[in-house]
Symmetry: C2
Subunit: 422 residues, 2 copies
């Protein structure tokens, strides 16, 4: 372990992030399970990238079969990307019917910004003040975890993220309007500064923001403001997408709005580097006329085979229904937890948040960190999110079962009962 | 075919680039060979992505084996990325000893720009006026094939690309100094404009610029100028790297200079979406202190297995020596070609250029285009490059043999003898 950390610092440099005080050394995965080098078995309650389960044989077979046959690029014709685009776009409404395939969610969001720029002729973007949409130069300017190199640029405005414990505008009922007012204010600022308003980028479940409990319709006042200003809605479905939320394929369908651009990433091909952008033909044409985009690896036959197999498994194993049912069951157990610092339990399908607040109303950040470490010591992998990192984040692979949920919740009960909180 | 093109436009939108007047529909690859849907077999003289040959069984096996075992991310410890980093960085000198793994050359170059920005505190970059380094918002600003959306920004300066037929400064002997003078002038402009000079990004073989015939030492006067100004040299090895040029692992070793940052892409994992950046520990530390970079798919165990297997095959099959020997042989045959429009044949290992100029000295762009199409009709896939797209580009997979070279050159002889040129 210490040898691995030493080699890592020597070969990769300092500050390369790991999870946990003592990082885990994982060597094997299967379904919802991970094993470390000592043979210790962990229940994976965190990873959404292995969407249909770690090392799902159908996805592995699809990758191996296509890699044995052909792996080129989209400058030659190939049915793989077309078959996948047909299947994927059929899952969307709102005329979201055309696709660009890339390799990472960051690349997809980087294009999304340029589509908005090409379509509106403006350069100003809005995001929330506690978000992450990716790591390219352009996209990192919308992120608040760490300032982008060169500092925050003037053409980006960040509005307060929604929150259920400390709602924007002070009240839960007024939060949707308060959020929209802040967006309207940011738009005016961008217009006054001469940038104009190109678009708002958001995750429809505000996952990095802390995954606040919101209701469908929350974004309606904001959508109205954006439409009036002529900007685009860029919807980052990297976390909620592909049925994670149990009731719908996409977060925006659950929240109930029509995005102009949707971006997809992590879970798309069960871990194979693959991401995509979906938009309307009119917007795609404007972008494609303005910029000759080509991505060497994007949409290659192996990536398409991996993505198609992942989509097949979601459907064949009815994983969205399963996510809803298991999710409802696990959320009931979260709701039933009694703990002095528990502020709120929330969930959508197989995405859960459990927020802790101290007696004096301050976020219980340290306690939440201790719970994450204790869960890992009890062989359950999860993590935490939110502005104050005081919300447990559980987002297991989709085959997560009722038994898996019981195991995770039993251990959580034990950890909460034994972790000191004052 | 027409059905595929119709589906493609419907699902991917307009202006999605393809090769050839009638695009090829490739369904199978093996070694240096590609097959289309009608069973027609093509000699691949173009693709560098399948570096050790299409569908090399050792790389396919490595991908399949690792995908069956585990595919996660670098927030958990894993030996795969460390084993690969150790093997890869051992191929570099100049204290280039630390690595970031990403998914595309564009992502690597996007980071390279930020390293220069973090290290120098400046924002001005220089590239040549006929290049391509990738497709992110930031990197596309350095490319000249099509203006970036929003127009060319003021902090990017483009200097005339070297050229053997029409050298910078007018003479071949004076070209190295003239190139350096233009870089010095651009640095002064960036300083006067208040951006300052962060770095120069270049491909050490100027591949997209037309792959001009240059000699080792060409960059020496430019390096001196850059060092005096305090900027970084960002070396894009996506095309020359991994032994393509036959005499060295990297283009900068051949040209004879010490870059601060090296980026790698296309051939790195034989088609699996994988790319990397290599730099010195001091520069890595500055970047890692300034920005919390993490890439979900970058450096995952499967990508590392694919990259390691590709490196293994390069060594086990002695492909660099082979590239030098076959390259020398093929270049002799190119030199022996007699054609009224032939201006220059050039080559380094398995990268070749054959430039055509009309009687009146203008670039023979149309003729070169017809040659590319005629080669494809004769079952040889290649393409063209350069400012005027009047240079045939041949860059086959590394297992390309003397027999393959003879076949390609025999067909080229035939095509040149039968393609009208006036």
């Amino acid at each position: 372990m210490s040898d691995l950390l030493t080699r890592r610092t020597r070969l990769l440099g300092p500050n390369v992030p790991t999870f946990y005080d003592t990082p885990v050394h994982i060597v094997k995965g299967e379904g919802v399970w991970l094993w470390d080098a000592d043979g210790r078995k962990y229940l994976d309650c965190y990873n959404n990238v292995p969407h249909v389960g770690h090392c799902h044989p159908k996805v592995v077979d699809a990758i191996a079969r296509q890699a044995t046959t052909l792996n080129t690029h989209t400058r030659y014709l190939h049915e793989g990307i077309l078959d996948y685009a047909e299947r994927l776009t059929a899952k969307f409404s709102h005329d979201l019917s055309q696709m660009i395939m890339v390799c990472t969610g960051s690349e997809a969001n980087d294009i999304a910004l340029r589509i908005a720029q090409a379509v509106t002729g403006k350069t100003g973007f809005i995001a929330t003040d506690n978000t992450y949409h990716g790591n390219t130069t352009a996209v990192s300017q919308l992120s608040t975890r760490r300032p982008p190199i060169g500092g925050y640029p003037d053409h980006i405005r960040l509005v307060p993220a929604p929150d259920t414990v400390r709602p924007v505008g002070g009240t839960h009922d007024g939060q949707a309007d308060a959020f929209a007012e802040n967006v309207a204010h940011a738009i005016r600022e961008l217009e006054v500064a001469g940038h104009g308003f190109a678009g708002l980028m958001l995750c429809p479940t505000f996952a990095n923001e802390g995954f606040p409990a919101l209701s469908p319709g929350f974004l309606d006042p904001t959508v109205k403001v954006i439409r009036q200003a002529g900007g685009l809605i860029l919807c980052d479905e990297v976390q909620p997408g592909f049925g994670r939320i149990g009731t719908h394929w996409w977060g925006h369908e659950w929240l109930g709005f029509a995005p102009d651009v949707v971006t997809l990433g992590k879970p798309m091909a069960n871990g194979h580097p693959c991401a995509a952008l979906i938009t309307r033909p009119d917007l795609m044409k404007t972008f494609r006329d303005a910029f000759g985009y080509f991505n060497t690896f994007g949409g290659n036959p192996v990536s398409c085979a991996a993505a198609l197999a992942t989509l097949d498994v979601v459907e064949e194993e009815d994983l969205i229904t399963k996510a809803r049912n298991v999710g409802e069951y696990a959320l009931e157990r979260l709701h039933s937890i009694s703990h002095p610092l528990k502020a709120e339990a929330r969930g959508l399908g197989l995405f859960f948040g459990l927020e802790f607040v101290n007696d004096d109303g301050t976020p219980a950040t340290d306690f939440t960190a201790r719970v994450v470490e204790a869960m890992r010591e009890n062989d359950v992998l999860l993590n935490r999110i939110g502005r104050h990192m005081n919300t447990l984040k559980m987002r297991p692979p989709m085959p997560f079962s009722k038994d898996n949920a019981d195991l995770a919740m039993d251990i959580l009960d034990h950890v909460l009962a034994t972790t000191p909180y004052d």
